[in-house]
Amino acid sequence: MGLEALLIEKTIIVVIVFIVTLTIAAYSTYGERKVAAFIQDRIGPNKAGPFGLMQPLADGMKMLMKEDFVPQQANKFLFHIAPGLSMLTALMVSAVIPWGKTLMIGGRSISVQVTDINIGILYVLSVVSLGVYGIMIGGWASNNKYSLMGALRASSQMISYELPMGLSLIALLMVTGTMSFNEIAAQQSGWNGMQWNIVYQPIGFVLFLVCAFAEANRTPFDLPECEAELVGGYHTEYSSMKLGFFLFAEYAHMFVSSAIISTLYFGGYNFPGINTLYHILPHNIVTLIGIGVLMIKTLFFIFLFMWVRWTIPRFRYDQLMNLGWKRMVPIAIVNIIITAGVVLLFDK
């Protein structure tokens, strides 16, 4: 009985998270075009439906209708699975994010999270680094020099930025003392929902944010697709919905990264006054407000991703490597040492 109920509720949560992620990813494409337009003093898509809200649907239709081209010399099998692999890894990360506290339904306390594994952060790091496989396989299988260059850049960039990302998380782990996302989110409910990790780890947050940009292949780290030098980078040879999947995976990745940043550093579902509200309002309503708050934080970070993209140009490749190895890694290590010292001094 208990197991069946667990299976059903987890299935429901998985499906909801899946749908929400895909919807937000789809509307991120619309959001991206709107943000780009607004920053450039334009209006953006406004013809498809009210305010152009049907634009993602129209874009998807367009993608599906296009000719699905496979280069003759391509490795057919790898060429076909690469976009799916990108999408898969982008979606898999969302499994460990705690979207809210708990919902009370029929006397059962259900946590709004697909799974609370106790090595959540390790899981995220490993799945995110798998994400480069989609790009690498796609670039390799295309049998095109530009695609290969894009794939090479993607993999070296990923390796370079995985490191400071991991190091900045180590400093965070010293503060939290746990790798479970659920516990990290719960810890930040102190000070009536204001004890966010950004207070303890401002440098770590900046490092993590920059690395998240690099991991999601977003400007200024979008060298793998770099239109100006590499035609389309790793997806040069892709067309139709396979290209759509690559682009879609980028937005899904962006959404998940934003959710992770919000959870790790910005209190997750916590908001000022959450503990007081739990005493006043029914439990489920406050939890739903918490989910909404996490969504707002996530959307803000998605906006930040876009805002940065339409503000600054991309790095040159040597600048990228210099920044990664000569700046980010040392700063991350110093951050760890300082954090360790502070934890040692004050926690005892």
């Binding site: 943000v35 607004f38 920053i39 450039q40 003093d41 334009r42 209006i43 406004n46 900046v206 805002w307 940065v308 339409w310 503000t311 600054i312 920044l323 700046r327």
Partner: protein, 176 residues
């Protein structure tokens, strides 16, 4: 070598080492994001197609009109000078003789039975207007409509000749 500058806007390029704050990148990025945020909430410059009209010059050269005189008679005498002047060869016409009883329709003894302008060929240069000895053809500030087939872009007399109840003002183009 002396440095002369006529505009006083000359800037010397320097390859100096970046300062610490420049090497951090973040302050400069924040500044740039401030600029883009200002534009985000700024006034948009888009003209919405089909809704807003751009500011046209008062002497804009758009869709042609074949004028009538004040008594409603067509001015065109089908002399063919416009067709000869046309560099894009967009104008064709067939002349006809005015019959007794048609004096209220046509101003002179000869008129254009067919007068066609191919709007896809036309380059809107206005040479037809300059060539016309009878002040019959003028370019106006109206636009050629969007059509679905090439055939529909060939405008005949029914499209070009002005209606007496809806006369087209061409005073801005009467500069000669």
């Amino acid at each position: 070598m002396a440095e002369y500058s006529l505009s006083n806007r000359k800037v010397l390029v320097s390859n100096k080492e970046m300062t610490f704050s420049e090497r951090l990148y973040l302050p400069a990025i924040m500044k740039g994001m401030g600029v883009t945020l200002k534009h985000f909430f700024g006034k948009k410059v888009t003209y919405i197609h089909g809704k807003d009209l751009r500011n046209y010059s008062s002497t804009y050269r758009g869709l042609h009109v074949l004028k009538r005189d004040d008594e409603g008679r067509e001015r065109c005498v089908a002399c063919g000078l416009c067709a000869v002047a046309c560099p894009a060869e967009a104008i064709t016409m067939v002349a006809a003789e005015r019959l007794p009883g048609e004096e209220h329709l046509y101003r002179e003894e000869k008129y254009a039975a067919i007068y066609e302008i191919n709007m896809l060929r036309c380059i809107f240069c206005g040479l037809c207007e300059q060539a016309c000895p009878k002040e019959a053809i003028y370019l106006t500030d109206r636009l050629v409509d969007v059509e679905l087939t090439r055939k529909d872009f060939i405008y005949g007399k029914e499209d070009l000749v002005e209606k007496m109840d809806n006369r087209i003002d061409i005073s801005n183009r009467q500069h000669h």
